[in-house]
Symmetry: C2
Subunit: 456 residues, 2 copies
Amino acid sequence: MSTVSNYIDANKEQFKEELFELLRIPSISTSSEHKGDIKEAAQFWINKLKELDLDRVELFETEGNPIVYGELVTDESKPTVLVYGHYDVQPPDPLDLWETEPFEPTVRDGDIYARGASDDKGQSYTHLKAVESYLKSGEDFPVNIKFILEGEEEIGSPNLVPFINEHKELLDCDMVLISDTAMFAEDTPSITYGLRGLAYMEVEVVGPNRDLHSGVYGGAVENPANALAEIIAKLKDEDGVIQIPGFYEDVKPLSKEDREAYEKLPFDEEKYKKDLGLQTVSGEKGYSTLERASARPTLDVNGLWSGYQGEGAKTVLPSKANAKISMRLVPDQDPKTIARQFKEYVESLAPESVSVTVTEHHGGHPAITDLSFYGLQAAAQAFENVYDKEPFFAREGGSIPIVADFQKILGAQSILMGFGLNSDAIHSPNEKFALKDFYRGIHTSAKFFELLPDYS
Amino acid sequence: MSTVSNYIDANKEQFKEELFELLRIPSISTSSEHKGDIKEAAQFWINKLKELDLDRVELFETEGNPIVYGELVTDESKPTVLVYGHYDVQPPDPLDLWETEPFEPTVRDGDIYARGASDDKGQSYTHLKAVESYLKSGEDFPVNIKFILEGEEEIGSPNLVPFINEHKELLDCDMVLISDTAMFAEDTPSITYGLRGLAYMEVEVVGPNRDLHSGVYGGAVENPANALAEIIAKLKDEDGVIQIPGFYEDVKPLSKEDREAYEKLPFDEEKYKKDLGLQTVSGEKGYSTLERASARPTLDVNGLWSGYQGEGAKTVLPSKANAKISMRLVPDQDPKTIARQFKEYVESLAPESVSVTVTEHHGGHPAITDLSFYGLQAAAQAFENVYDKEPFFAREGGSIPIVADFQKILGAQSILMGFGLNSDAIHSPNEKFALKDFYRGIHTSAKFFELLPDYS
């Protein structure tokens, strides 16, 4: 293993230069004018995979952006790891808030600043360089490896799930390895083993067919803004418990292991409150802050609008009131079922003096990996070896819907081996990724491949 | 009286031309660039009053726009009527929706189209022409008359109340005559004897110090939009009864006469619902639609905003949520007291996990004129003579705060002798005033002055 490790250390500068080359490609998937850049980023990956002399390297066209695939299957008796990542990035706007050009990577204070540095070019590239470090230093690669990189993660992966469904055999694996999350804190490695799902709804309440004068009609005509507020107020009770019938039916209770993992996390609630400017945290009764934020389902108003929003006073009785309301889901809640239950409940709450329309935006399934899964144990040991610290196991409140899809379609659990930080400003100006974590990521990935056969 | 009536009929064309001259002056009070036009409109009134050889005509400067005053006091033993009106108008925007120029009056299908045609130049001018019709036809004017016209009605009359307070003796009168309201329907005269007051509040709920990711923080941090909805929901109960402690304390119950007047009104609830596109009316239990819309206090959300209002889904847990909420008040509710009660109640409803700020916009007192007041009876008879129809007595849901001020400062009840229609589109493009009601208005005013001494 020291050969591999030495190779990594000897090639740091080269690895960084390659990553910079990738970061210079503005492969923004949200805008069609970057189609050429998307192709260039996909081709960059194809070229790098080909340099490794794998068994198979292929660019799959889809109805949208192409999918990059590569594999090296040496021994069917060994575990097969499918590395997933994405080569597309968020748009860099607002541009004027960037201290340096978003597509000209720059190192400041040990951090690489560039769009995609952390999400997900820098993180996903660690695994390719780990594999290279075996193959180019003359070591046998200890497991079977497959790579899949998509170019539509930032637009909801519309073509990935169909692709996985059509290529189940090709993608057959024992686990999925993903580096697209954050560590618990700096120098504090953690493995994300749970993700929440999402159901995102929009509610429109319509009263009179036009805005009315609130003096002339107020009192006799239902006000849709009042009606909407009353509907929202009935979605949770005073203990923060969601009132939608059936909502908790499929929720797996927190296990003893879960709660123990939570207790181990070095969480400072005072610091958390101070950072957010809060007098007090709040939420569902009977759960801790971290449990509420990641292991329990939630319901949040994301947007609200009706009537007059300008300066001063306008005496309007609005015709319409709207809300965007989303729910974070936990295993085994199903987003479609929850969306239906939400719609039925909200419709049942509406007074007959208004009409209510409930529509559904995109959703996603929650996912969880068994804490006892051998891949997770091997990943933890790899982290400990490289960071000299036992990693924490944490559930995250956000959603990565593809994790549930891998589980459902391929039957494979995911290992979320994040090297980023929550302060990386992904999706914001001045996105960054610590250079040391780029290198430690490569080491951790290489270590993980080395250890995995022993744990299987 | 036939002399007066003949004079009116003989001078119709002249009266119309004069009104058109006044309507051509863009005396918009909401914008300082029309100061010159404001002066011109005030001077127009001064000139017309002077042509009548009254006892006294004077332009009073204020800190804002000037106040026009004129009086003819012939016999202290006769009733004194103070005519109130305003020479300023709303801005004409949006200009592109006007079919003809807003400040070039045009008659189409018997209606005068111009900004201010109904509100209030056309309506207030009827009384001046009624007085002229006595004085120029050689008849004695039957009562004492005073005119007061302000140029700041559309901006909340900031200088009128101080002026009244400083000129109580000058303005001393037995009643105030105002034509700035609408008839119940076309050819259906009505006298407004009640107006609602107003308390207009703004509520801001602040949670975390910045917008958060609802996946990462949702469940553990109070969502200010949810909290605001819960506060609003607690402002009324399921029967539409407002829950603010003390809110109904000063509300005068509807009298037998009130309810009888309401029952007489030719109100078609099916047509009302159809016009508004409603399946059903709604409101406070135990009251009819018209009572709810004019004789009972209300609470309406006028505006609501928080978080993301664009297309699609954004998973934000907003930092702030805001609402504009106003209450229409009825005698003897006091806007200041109600504003205080609202503030205290809303603050008491706020969970400690958010901070709530309640601020007050402008308010106004409710007002009511005794149905038995002789001035009201004389006005009713005048309407009946001219329109050949007994007028209805109606309360209006909107607010004209100055009516309560005249009552409070001068001890004078108001007679709201409206010649307009609700369809006049005041404050909107294509404002109009029926030419026939301009003439019938002059006749009704003249008749009122003739009858008044007999009723006193």
